[in-house]
């Protein structure tokens, strides 16, 4: 059955994804939820909680307020917190119960803007999707609400879009060839840095979560984008590397997996096919790649594998005779292999080559 998991965990959920994307942007993210979301997030889905402050809260929704649709308490509590904590903006995230009772988040945002004078936006989550969707919605909503046309352009300026610890724990961004980093969404960054994004000449979507915001900036501000990790510090699009069908698989998030596959093909001439196990895949897979949803599909897809690059937990459902290269992914195995997550920008550290 597609919806059951025998041994693998689910990927980080969309609510955590939204919180992770906005973590360093100086706002206040409020998850409308009874309890649990914030604990899950800061325990399993966030590496920065201990060291870096971020205003991420839950509403503490109870049954009566959910049944009666008591939005007043939610609104008043947010206003009090905003007055106290002085965020740059307010972002609201949804969860299953407000989703079920049809809470009007956009309306609440309008009320909050009136009452607090702060920009307020809704991140369309409901806890039923994975983190890539939550991050994508958060980056896009932030872009729509907070970006303005640039006063100046930075020559060869680039933005990194879609970078959070859920996919990339290393904060190192190395650019070469005259490129200059303008804005990073959203690791090792700040509000001031994030809103400079329109000064850039190029966006680099380093994960599927960044694609929607890149498309928006292309349409709204004319900033083109490429997809993929910037190997050797240079923007490149992994989809331009032609790969053939094979029984070597990389399992994970499609942009990162595709980038690694392209790197291996370019450097070693070896084909790997991407098995995208996270949700956003439109335009991100080549003909030899595929999308898998859930443990059962993934186990089936790996049956003929000869070589696998994946998070160590995927080994639990992989054929015993396949060669396995571990590439821990925080959004899957959380803290279990955190200390072993390599800098993805340095593939020689985790792909031994031939």
């Amino acid at each position: 059955m597609r919806k059951t998991y025998r041994i693998l965990p689910v990927y980080t959920g969309d609510v955590s994804g939204a919180a992770s994307a906005l973590y360093e942007f100086g706002g206040m993210t409020v998850i409308h939820d009874p309890s649990g979301c914030n604990s899950t997030y800061n325990t399993h889905d966030e590496t920065r909680w201990f060291d870096k402050e971020s205003l991420i809260y839950i509403s503490g929704l109870n049954d009566i307020d959910a049944i009666t649709g008591n939005d007043d308490k939610f609104i008043n509590d947010i206003c009090s917190a905003a007055e106290r904590m002085k965020p740059r903006f307010i972002a609201l995230a949804n969860s299953p119960l407000p989703y079920l009772n049809g809470t009007d988040f956009k309306g609440i945002c309008r009320v909050l803007e009136e009452k607090t004078g702060l920009p307020c936006f809704y991140v369309n989550t409901n806890a039923m999707h994975d983190y890539s969707k939550g991050q994508s919605e958060a980056f896009l909503s932030f872009a729509k609400k907070m970006l303005r046309g640039p006063e100046r352009k930075v020559k060869n300026g680039v933005n990194i879009i879609g970078m959070t610890p859920l996919d990339l724990t290393s904060t190192e961004i190395h650019l070469s060839g005259g490129y200059e980093l303008v804005s990073n969404w959203g690791l090792n960054t700040s509000y001031e840095n994030a809103v400079r994004a329109t000064e850039a000449e190029l966006n680099i979507a380093v994960s599927s979560s960044g694609i929607a915001a890149c498309k928006y900036m292309q349409e709204e501000y004319g900033i083109p984008y490429v997809k993929g990790l910037p190997w050797d510090g240079r923007p490149c699009d992994y989809t331009e590397t032609v790969r053939e069908k094979t029984k070597n698989y990389i399992v994970g998030e499609p942009v990162i997996s595709g980038s690694v596959a392209a790197y291996i093909k370019t450097k070693y001439g070896i084909d790997y096919n991407v098995i995208a196990a996270t949700e956003i895949t439109d335009g991100l897979l080549s003909g030899c790649d595929r999308k898998c949803h859930g443990e059962e599909e993934l186990e089936e897809a790996l049956k003929d594998a000869e070589n696998i690059i994946a998070d160590p937990m995927v080994r639990l459902i992989s054929p015993a005779n396949a060669d396995f290269i571990e590439l821990p992914h925080f959004a899957l195995s959380g803290r279990l292999y955190l200390k072993r997550i390599p800098n993805l920008m340095k593939p020689d550290l985790y792909y031994p080559g031939i």
Binding site: T4, P9, S80
Partner: protein
Amino acid sequence: MPTSSDESVRIGDAEFPKPFVNGLEFNAPVHGTWNIVHIGFRIPEAHQIYICADNCLRGVVMTAAEMGELGRFSSVVLEEDDMTHSGRIEETTIEGVTDCLRKLSKIPPVVIVFPVCVHRFMGCDIGYIYKELEKRFPDVIFIRGFMDPVMQKRGTTPDQRLRKAMSDIIPKLPVKEDTVAFAGSDMPASENDFKKILEFNAKTVKDTAACRTLEEYLSIGESSLFICQYPAGLMAAKAITQRLDRKYIYCPLSFDFDTVEEEIRQSGLSVPDGFFEDGKEACIAEMKKLKDLIKDTPVAIDYTAVPKPLSLARFLKDNGINVRTVYLDAVDGSEKADFEYLQKNFPELILHSTMHVSDRRPVRSNEKVLAAGQKAAWFEGTGYFVNIIEGGGLYGFSGICEFIRLMEDAFNNGKDMRDIVPRKGLGCRSCI
């Protein structure tokens, strides 16, 4: 007196039992307390199945993963179509649980099923689900768990109800008068006067928190007396003793000598000569050692360390210890007398919320602070802390003495707070 909208309040100005206004909630990165996954695994051989949305599932499945217990854990993911099609949520739950069990190499004897808030709000027919599951798996004992935190603010918490559900499967066996069980706690009884007294009375002692086999767990049904020492286990203790027609004693770790003596006397168990006098003397002597050691070092306490944090604060204050802050969000009804005593005699004592929005920016001093409990340690930013939850199985004079010794040890030996407090479920295996 108004309830405080600030993150902290002098106890002299605080409102009982809720010193703080409800608002948006912060969550400190401190996770030593047990959640329903840890608790469920207390039943040997039990398998847990959660049926919920991705984001809700993540916390519990990773709890199991970090315990190295994924082999005893399965999940069913709820999606939008389960909410929008009539009857779909029951179907997904039944077929999902069935599929999970059929994928296991061996059907487990006990399965704890956890529906969630959504099941309640969809009006899901839970009775039908269990009826169908029990028909499909007649040899399995299904425990009716629930992960529905939306209900906990105004009623019982999911973990209270889980403890009760876990006790519901203990059968009524012929009573053995010489058998007594500790029940309802997560921590096995350790330095505990009742353990000593039961030994003195030649009783056989069982403990729901320390069973190695399912058979041993179920054999608790032959106990003549149940001892509950943790508030969240009281509902279970009451229910099982009513069902089995047995007696129970409720005695969470208290630091008040009279309370301890009264609770032990009320148990009806024989006590060795001089037990109370010797116990009190030992506590007083140990406390003097502590005072000599730490002098006026500020002390902070949190509610996760002991079931009665104000009882501890009162005891320490009365003995000249510089307790500066107690971290809690509400005061339990059983602590009203201690609250009033502290309010009258030590009005400057600070009560500090652990969830207030301002707690995101805790104000920490550079001075050495001795903390009792992980949350107090995090808020104070100190490595000098007693690493304990739920009273640690301590009770009575021996428990009080041990707690003071732990404070002495904490003062002398700093810990790596950063490494310790984010680990989930103190006392459980941690694979991180």
